[in-house]
Assembly symmetry: C2
Amino acid sequence: MRGTGDDAAVVRARGLAVTSVDAVVQDVHFRLGGGGLSPYEVGARALASALSDLAAMGAEPGEAYAVLGIPAAFSQDSAVELVAGMRGVARTAGTSILGGDVVAAPALFVAVTVVGWADAEHELIGRDGARPGDVVGITGELGGAAATLAVAEGRAPGSAAGAPAGEIALRLREGRALAAAGAHAMIDLSDGIATDAAHLGRASGVSVCIDVNALPVHPEAERAAIAAGRPPWWLAATGGEDYELCFCVAPRDRGRAERAVAGVGATAVTWVGEVASGPAGAVLSDERGAVAGIEGYEHRW
Amino acid sequence: MRGTGDDAAVVRARGLAVTSVDAVVQDVHFRLGGGGLSPYEVGARALASALSDLAAMGAEPGEAYAVLGIPAAFSQDSAVELVAGMRGVARTAGTSILGGDVVAAPALFVAVTVVGWADAEHELIGRDGARPGDVVGITGELGGAAATLAVAEGRAPGSAAGAPAGEIALRLREGRALAAAGAHAMIDLSDGIATDAAHLGRASGVSVCIDVNALPVHPEAERAAIAAGRPPWWLAATGGEDYELCFCVAPRDRGRAERAVAGVGATAVTWVGEVASGPAGAVLSDERGAVAGIEGYEHRW
C-alpha cells in the first residue's frame, strides 16, 4: 500500500469491489448543536450510513474515503471532533479511512465513499431477489434513533441523558451471515421500514407485507410514540437511521437465518411479515388493515 | 456486476485498487455562469480532476462515483447538463459512472471518487521516487486553462470564441506508458507546475529545478501573459487545471520516455529541468536566476 502523500490510495484487491457513496448536508440532513447533532455524531453517522449499505449487501468492509466541506464558522476543534466520530465508527467496523479531500463550503457537508470486498458473487445479496412466500425478518430493534431525536427536539418526554445512547450498531457481520444463510434479498433500514420495505418490494417486483404490531419496537420509541398520541409502533415504522437489516428468506430457512445472526453477536431476529405477489412495493398493516400514508418519510437526522 | 438499484455498485476487481477523491464547491473552486463555468464544464472538470490523479499514478481508470450537492436555484436542466459533462469525460477516459448520491445543498458541489486498477505494484508510480540527477519532463502544453479563464474574466484580450476550446485532455495512457518506461516519480499539474513540482520535490526529498524558459507554453497563455505585463511563461508556470503530467526519469531513459508517450497519442514531451539534492521542494529559474513568490498559487477554476 502506498503512502497517503500520493494523489490516490492503493490497496490490494479481492475478487469483487462493492462501493457505496453517501452524503449529508447541514440543515438538509442534520442540524448542528442545540437540539441537533454534535460534530462527532455527524462524522460517525455519515460513515455509518455508508457502511450500512455494505452490510445490506453482505460485503466485508474495506476502506473509506471522506470529503469534508467545512464552513468558516466551523472551528478546527469541531473538525477534529467530526473526524474522531468517523474514526470511532471505522474502528468498530474494521475499516480504515485512507483518503479524502477537505474543502471550504458555505455549509458543513460530509461525502463518504466506502469500499467493501467479496470473493465471489454468491456471497453478495441485493434488494431484488425477494420471492412470493418468503418471510421477512428484521435484526435488532427499531425506532431508537427517532426516539433520541424526538427527545432532543422536545417532542417526547425524557432528558438528553435519559435518551438512548445513540450508539450506532452496524450489522456488518449479521449482513454477511444472512447472505451466507441463503437470504434472497436484504436492505438496511436507513429511512425507516415504511420506506425501505417499499424499495425492496419495488426492486424485487413483489409486495412486502409487514405487520406493524410485530415490529421490534425500541422501548424509548414506544414511549415517545405514545406520548405523541401515536400507536406504539409509529416511530419504529417511520423513523430512520437505525441501520438494522430487513431481509427475506424462504420459510424453510427461517431457523438458519436466526442461527446465522445469533452466531455473530447478541442481535436477535424478529419475523415481521411475508412476501406476496401483487403490486410491487410494501403494505404495512395493523389489526384494522393497511396503514396508509406512512411511506415517504423524509430521511432526516 | 449488480444493477444500480442496490445500495452499492459491485465490480470485478483486479490486483490493486487505486482510489482518488476530489471535491469542488461553487464560489470556492469555481463560479457559475457569466465569466465562470457552465454546468457542463463543472461536471467535466470535477471528473477530469479526479481521473488526472489516476493518470499520475499510472493506473488504468475503472469506475467513478459522484455526489452532487444541488442548490434550489440550480435548475433540473442544469443538473442534466452537469451530468452530461461528467459523462463526456467518462466516455473519453474509458470509465463508467456507476453510482452516487444527489442531495440538496446551499451551494453547488461535486464530490467525485474514481477507482483505477493495476495488476501489480510495479505498474504504479508515486510522487516520492525522484532521484538527484533525474531529468524532468512534461507532457503537452501548459497554461491553456488559465488563458481561457483570463479571457473569460476580461483580464486578457480575446473573445470567448477565440479562447482555447477548454477541451480537457487527460493523460491516462501517457501516465501508464511513462510508468512502464521507468519514470521514477510523477504528478499531474492540477495546481500549476510552480506548486505541483514543489509537492513532488517535498515527497521525494529532492530539489526539483525547473527552467521556466523551457516550459511548453500554450500560445494563448503566452499571449495572455504578455498582455498582462508578465513574462511569456507566467500563466504556464502558475495556472492550474491543465492536467498535463510532470515526471522524473534517469537521463538514460529520456528517449524511452519520449517514445512511450509518442506511442500512445499525439502528445509531445518537453524537458524542463532536473532533480538535485538540496532543500526538498522546487526551484523555478529564469535567465536571471530563481523566481520567487510564484509557488502557492491558489487552486481555482
